[in-house]
Amino acid sequence: MVKKVAILASVALAASLLSANALAENKRIAIVVKALGIGFFEAAAKGAEEAAAELGDVDIIYTGPTDTTAEGQIEVINSLIAQKVDAIAISANDQDALVPALKKAMSRGITVISWDSGVAPEGRQMHLNPSSNALIGNTIIKLAADHMPDGGEVAVLSASATATNQNIWIEEMTKVMDNYPGVTLVSTVYGDDLSDKSYREAEGLMSSHPNLKAIIAPTTVGIVAAAQAVTDAGKIGEINVTGLALPSEMAGHIESGVSKSFAIWNPIDLGYSATMIAYNLATKKAMADANTSIDMGRMGSVMLDDNKEGAMSDPFTYDASNIDQFKSIF
């Protein structure tokens, strides 16, 4: 009995020491992503670690659910609240469904920001867009139109029908379609960010639209699947696959010519900036108010608009001239 009590006491002591240490020394910033095992987010985690190394007193918790579901992210958020982390920086699977869980986090003193894919304003202190949505929407159609001097049919292969960011970009894209005369959008299909489904949807696009000139996939999973589908159909040169992608995953498709160019912001920069902002807010070095700016270290600073949203930087175009330089980075 005495032994048992002694063991219990020492366990409790060790536990309290552990938590005391963690609280006193390092700020713990959780980077919550849509799902683990996605190249883009792994790169963002690298950026977060870079920021942590620069700041010194930060521990990064890189986590997320297995599937891109809101319910999975809520379970993750609940466990982070339980761990009493200092900040949560999340790329959301659903802008509304996460609000109650994130509100609870904020009510328990945790700094909450969203990045990449946003949360409704009442569920976060600020949102960091990788770029401005209008610029991205324009970029993805421009990438396709640049290689279609005579115009023609284009189609969009998106992620899931409920993906916040993809929907905004496609909306922005359709707004500027008039600036590209002769280019018509014939269809928008959803591959749910699953390789096999995206591949089948791309095949479907090719068979239902024989005159298709370009497939625009504003998702890293979709563009690779589409490029593979076009290659397998022997239509390299006929159909240009473009959109948003990771250089490492697209290097082969740029070489083969199935994709002439694509764009992306740098996810390393994004993870870095989100971490910097979360740190500055958690340590009260900055406040997330409308029309104020927050420092992001080497990335400069971000200006918040009335919705407390800010844009990090412009998207960057990758093609045969620079792909070799970037493919080993992310």
Binding site: L36, G64, T66, S79, A82, K84, D94, Q95, T162, N167
Partner: protein, 342 residues
């Protein structure tokens, strides 16, 4: 615990008393095994994370399984009767969409509490008709309705979402009855008792076991097999509707992708709880324990920031381990029994 299992054996086996004592032993030890696993995982969690033994954290952790467990109770009965319903997650989606629509045309909390379960009931009735009236195998019928129900949600909502639920509606998924005891936990406990009584203490429960063991024999014994199966589909739909109320309230919004993939987690919970996937045996206390085990594992791993895929692997191994061991044991016991009786 002991009286529960006694009634399990009484209900699942209508053979003379002689066999029961041995069978009871097996059942008792098997449920004890689940209990031991639950206690062991609880202990591991307290060792692994200093944040685990906190009433608020444990309260948060219950959200990981309460809604799924509500459906698992009804699903357990359905599987014991030899059927299955894979459309439950889609019923949640359709039911939640209906509630969202109701809010958008200005209905209040009371109406929502009627509409959600009612839509679930209607979906359950549709499944039940397909299986009992048209004779479709339930696995095929409900794979069909799984796409159908969620498909309707996608048609209605597309990439939009319903939100703006009334503030008093939030109580059913986020509210606390007393201190850290959430409304969902109370609901979970109440339904655990109701379903335990229904399955192990009523003639209806006996009929469910009889149908699962041998539907033809059950029919010839005067049990209305199709009617009972239809009621079980209704119950499963109703529970999915109730779970939809809780989940919608907890999320505060509806998207057609709500509760995606839950059907497999619910079936896992039922099977982990010791219900024979081929029908004929199982118990509600087993399902309750399985719900706790799955909740403890996901929350414990979450506290350690273990990637979700590792959790899935662990749940899979747990399933094989907990189900496999008693199977091997039971087979050995049967073999031994057959030798002795000769």
């Amino acid at each position: 615990m002991n009286s529960e299992t006694q009634s399990v054996s009484a209900a699942s086996q209508s053979y003379p008393d002689r066999l029961q004592s041995k069978l009871r032993r097996v059942l008792v030890s098997w449920e004890l095994l689940l209990l031991c696993v639950a206690v062991f995982i609880f202990w591991l969690n307290t060792q692994a994370s200093p944040y685990f033994l906190d009433p608020w954290n444990l309260s948060d952790a219950t959200f990981n399984f309460t809604e799924k467990a509500l459906i698992a109770f009804a699903m357990a009965l359905l599987i014991i009767s030899g059927e299955i319903d894979l459309s439950v997650a889609s019923i949640i989606a359709l039911s939640s969409t209906a509630m969202g629509y109701a809010v958008s045309i200005g209905m209040g909390t009371t109406e929502l509490l009627i509409i959600g379960p009612l839509v679930g009931l209607a979906c359950g009735a549709f499944n039940g008709l397909l299986v009992t009236r048209f004779g479709l195998p339930s696995i095929v019928a409900t794979i069909g309705t799984m796409s159908l129900f969620r498909g309707i949600s996608y048609i209605i909502l597309g990439d939009k979402a319903y939100s703006g639920y009334p503030s008093d509606f939030a109580f059913f998924g986020q509210g606390y009855v007393y201190w850290v005891i959430t409304f969902e936990v109370v609901l979970f406990a109440v339904f655990a008792i109701i379903y335990t009584l229904l399955l192990h203490r009523t003639s209806f429960g006996r009929s469910v076991f009889a149908i699962g063991n041998n539907p033809t024999a059950a029919l010839f014994s005067g049990i209305r097999v199709n009617r009972i199966k239809f009621i079980l589909f209704l119950l499963t739909g109703l529970m999915a509707g109730i779970a939809a109320v809780c989940l919608t309230s907890r999320l505060g919004s509806t998207r057609p992708s709500i509760a995606l993939g839950w059907e497999l987690e619910i079936v896992t919970m039922v099977v982990l709880g010791g219900v024979n996937i081929l029908g004929g045996s199982g118990s509600i206390p087993g399902v309750v324990l399985a719900a706790f085990i799955m909740g403890l594992v996901t929350f414990g791993f979450g506290l350690l920031n273990v990637p979700g895929i590792v959790m899935s692997i662990f749940i899979g191994l747990l399933l094989i381990g907990v189900i496999g061991l008693p199977r091997v044991w039971t087979k050995g016991l049967h073999f031994w029994k057959s030798i002795v009786s000769r």
